[in-house]
């Protein structure tokens, strides 16, 4: 329950990003503000401060003011409000993580159920396809796909995905994890297929489509639901990794990964730019994992019992 509350708070804060940016901080989280100024306690100064010590080399963004109305967590190297960008970035990170997890679970459920139920040739083909996908290290595959696709306009039939579209990381991340979910689903279906209630339905003359819809799918659905928060956490981390490598969310859009990337160049002088999104990302991932455990316990009391023993 605690994890759910934390998640709700994070999601609510991210949803309220425009509210914060427009009405509290009065900043544009996406426009460069290199020459911008800020006013705090009646004192006005530049957001990016030229060094005045020694040879006067370097420019440093202002650090955290801990004042919600003025660069709460400081500014990045473009003079943008880091806290506002973290809130906006959270929207993208959570959106990509969740939607790609849904996509992954749907595809995996479909592939796993079909392969597990029909077996033989269908299973062989689908399983080998999953093997091929599984053979690639997941991050390497994601990086390869992202490098090829993220900066190009992708046209598939009537659909066109423009460069920088969030749908691209969603599709890429959603697809690369399919084998990780489809495998256990397939195994579960193969087991269910031999169970008495399925055999009874077969004996009663049920068609394949009915068996899949009415007997098998409802039984694997709890597994998919348990997978959903776990995959959301994993996908969010993957998205952050890709964005950190500049092949996920594209500027000026933000995600927690892009903000961490922005912060790498400021680690010595303004570490908060990298640390803050990192902490929020970690908290969110932990909360999602705990939520996944909770859902599993709720849907499978025997597992909870085993866990307590």
């Amino acid at each position: 329950m605690g994890s759910l509350v934390v998640l709700i708070l994070i999601v609510a804060a991210c949803v309220a990003a425009p509210l914060y940016a427009n009405n509290i901080a009065h900043v544009d989280a996406f426009a460069s503000n290199v020459q911008g100024t800020y006013t705090l306690n009646g004192v006005t100064g530049p957001v990016l401060v030229n060094s005045t010590e020694g040879l006067g080399l370097g420019v440093t963004p202002i650090g955290p003011t801990w004042n919600f109305s003025t660069y709460f967590l400081g500014a990045d190297n473009q003079g943008r409000d880091v806290f506002a960008r973290i809130l906006y970035g959270g929207r993208n990170s959570l959106l990509i993580g969740f939607v790609s997890a849904v996509l992954c679970c749907m595809l995996a459920g479909l592939v796993g159920v079909v392969a597990g139920y029909f077996g033989k040739g269908v299973d062989a083909v689908l399983s080998r396809a999953l093997d091929v996908l599984w053979a690639f290290p997941v991050y390497l595959l994601a990086i390869c796909l992202s490098v090829v696709l993220i900066n190009t306009t992708l046209t598939i039939g009537p659909w066109t995905l423009t460069s920088g579209s969030l749908l691209l990381p969603i599709l890429i991340i959603g697809i690369i994890y399919v084998p990780y979910v489809a495998r256990p689903i397939r195994g579960q279906v193969m087991s269910l297929r031999e169970r008495e209630f399925v055999q009874a339905a077969v004996g009663a003359g049920a068609k394949d489509s009915r068996l899949l819809r009415r007997e098998l799918l409802p039984n694997v659905l709890p597994t998919l639901i348990v997978f959903l928060p776990l995959m959301t956490a994993i996908n969010m981390l993957t998205e952050s990794a890709l964005s950190f490598l500049s092949i996920g969310v594209q500027p000026p859009d933000a995600s927690w990964g892009t903000i961490i990337n922005d912060g790498v160049g400021l680690l010595y002088t303004r570490p908060m730019v990298a640390i803050a999104p990192g902490i929020i990302l970690a908290i969110t991932a932990v909360a999602l994992n705990l939520l996944g455990d909770g859902v599993r316990d709720a849907l499978d009391p025997k597992a909870r019992l085993r866990g307590s023993l």
Binding site: S32, Q35, N50, L57, G58, V59, Q78, S163, S246
Partner: protein, 571 residues
């Protein structure tokens, strides 16, 4: 040239390169108040000879072949290893732009209306393998420029008689009638097809190094070619290190052209991150780092290690070329709008602050031949940069009818370029475009943006002088001959070819044969004409930081080839 570009092939046949440094007031500002004393170009002090100089770079600079490599990283080293018939004077400050005789006894007077040079070779000079330098080596070296398809073969040396045939069939290049050696007299005659007032500059860059006639007629790669200077290359592994040791056959013949070196050995190590390089120099574990220090270490270097940092202005500029042949920048108002909209001071900040860069309004950098302070796109009006005019920019975009069009900015993926690209994206969005920024590897970005097949609309790049002549910027970057559609070697990135302006440039080149001063006035006019047409937006002129360890002394900065490595002492 591109400052950190690694070029191992002849992809940049049209590039011209130079490296220099002077401040906005024309004086060198390098901080020479370091802890170690300085000879400052004075007499050689044997008390400081010896020791090992350790240099650091994130990565190696490519091939070791001096006639092919086109990087500042190795051109700096070649100054202490290879010699041409002439060279730039190896001294600190403005005098380093002076061409002096090197392997030749003296600079000859051009005859036949400026088309013939007869060089008399110095006697007694040997390569590092012990073989004497002869006129045969000189002739073979000029042939080799074409045989190995040196990046500047088609731009620097295409005026030599016979060069056309060599460019067409490099393997059988003889330069018959173009470069003629007389072994008995010890002379080499170079005949040009037309007078070239910049020819001596071109003879003084590493691509015109004199190598043994036995040097392979292909890229030598990691195999060292014997040298004539105080150092020779001992070993080279691009993954780990490059080691230079003293050339046992080197004897001083000209302090100006090739001074004696101090350190016994130079170890150039590769593979550390730039952060680690800075830390190593701070700790005295290395003497110098090639890479620019990371932005978040600048303040620390400038304050805690100020005495070890040397900052010098470069005759170079960063600019945003706009493709004049495709929308939206095939409309002059759209291009002018970009020039009005960009706040150069913002880019100065992104580069590291006003001590590391300055805004520019012209193609020719400040204190460069032909430069005149004149700023067409500044608000309020002035001869130097004051500020942007967004309202005017928006108005021009509306008038051009290009508002709302998508624009992709292609930038290199390093920290500074990516930050500037993001800023440009923000600016373009603010004046009415739908801008995206694409950051691609610095190894390919420069060639990518040159090729018209990639339909690059606007990009971010930089240019560093090859030698101190206005044509090296204006004619090279914006001349019609520099635009080759569909080629990776089309250095006129904007694809700009204005017949009127080209005629002005041709006239200035012709005037150079009689009066450089008069020619420079013409170049200044060309600069303004180009800025009116706005095929590019000049942004900043950068400065260079050399960060040395506390125990490294005798820092000298050549405006032509930057820090003189051979003059550093570690004892």
């Amino acid at each position: 040239m591109k400052l950190r570009l690694v070029v191992g092939t002849a992809t940049f046949a049209s590039l011209v390169l130079v490296l220099a440094a002077c401040t906005s007031d024309g004086s060198t500002t390098s901080n020479t108040s370091g802890s170690a004393s300085s000879a400052a170009g004075g007499a050689y002090d044997p008390a400081h000879a010896g020791g090992t100089l350790t240099l650091l770079a994130k990565s190696a600079g490519g091939t070791l072949d001096p006639q092919i490599n086109y990087t500042l990283q190795y051109w700096q080293l070649y100054q202490a290893a290879y010699d041409g018939l002439t060279s730039f004077k190896k001294v600190d400050g403005a005098d380093s732009f002076t061409v002096v005789p090197d392997l030749a006894e003296k600079i000859p007077q051009a005859t036949r209306g400026g088309k013939t040079y007869v060089f008399t070779m110095r006697k007694g000079i040997k390569f590092s393998d012990g073989t004497p330098v002869t006129t045969d080596d000189v002739v073979a070296s000029f042939q080799r420029i074409f045989k190995v398809s040196s990046p500047t073969a088609g731009s620097f040396y295409n005026g030599i008689v016979g060069a056309d045939a060599c460019l067409n069939t490099p393997a059988t290049c003889t330069l018959a009638g173009g470069v003629v050696g007389d072994k008995a007299a010890g002379t080499v005659t170079i005949n040009l097809t037309a007078p070239d007032p910049e020819f001596l500059y071109k003879l003084s860059v590493p691509h015109a190094s004199i190598l043994p006639a036995s040097a392979p007629s292909k890229d030598a790669g990691t195999t060292p070619i014997p040298t004539t200077g105080p150092y020779m290359f001992k070993s080279y592994d691009p993954n780990t290190s490059l080691v230079m040791v003293r050339n046992p056959y080197f004897k001083l013949w000209s302090q100006d052209a090739q001074p004696q070196a101090y350190a016994d050995e130079i170890d150039y190590k590769f593979g550390l991150t730039v952060e680690a390089e800075v830390t190593a120099v701070e700790n005295g574990q290395a003497n110098w780092l090639f890479d620019p220090p990371p932005a978040d270490r600048l303040a620390e270097i400038g304050s805690e290690y100020a005495s070890q940092a040397h900052v010098n202005t470069l005759t170079a500029y960063w600019y945003a070329p706009m493709n004049v042949n495709i929308p939206p920048f095939n409309n002059v108002k759209a291009r002018q709008a970009v020039n009005w909209a960009i706040d150069r001071n913002a880019l100065v900040k992104l580069y590291g602050g006003p001590e590391l860069a300055a805004p520019v309004c012209t193609i020719l950098p400040p204190d460069f031949p032909g430069h005149v302070d004149n700023c067409q796109y500044t608000n309020p009006a002035g001869s130097t940069w004051q500020g942007p005019d967004l309202a005017k920019a928006k108005q021009l975009v509306q008038e051009s009818g290009t508002a709302g069009q998508p624009v992709t900015i292609i930038v290199s993926d390093d920290e500074v370029n990516a930050a500037m690209g993001e800023y440009l994206q923000s600016v373009l969005n603010s004046i009415g475009y739908k801008a995206t920024v694409k950051a691609i590897s610095g190894n390919v970005q420069f060639t990518y943006i040159q090729n018209t097949k990639n339909n690059v609309q606007i990009s971010l790049t930089s240019w560093y002088q090859d030698y101190p002549a206005a044509s090296d910027f204006l004619n090279v970057l914006l001349g019609c001959a520099s635009f080759t559609p569909g080629s990776d070697s089309s250095i006129n990135i904007a694809g700009f070819c204005d017949k009127t302006i080209q005629a002005q440039m041709d006239a200035a080149l012709k005037t150079e044969q009689t009066s450089m001063d008069a020619a420079n006035k013409q170049w200044a006019a060309v600069d303004q004409a180009v800025m009116t047409a706005s095929p590019q937006a000049p942004l900043i002129t950068p400065k260079l930081i050399d960060f040395l360890s506390a125990d490294t002394g005798n820092y000298q900065f050549s405006k032509q080839f930057y820090m003189l490595v051979s003059q550093l002492w570690v004892k």
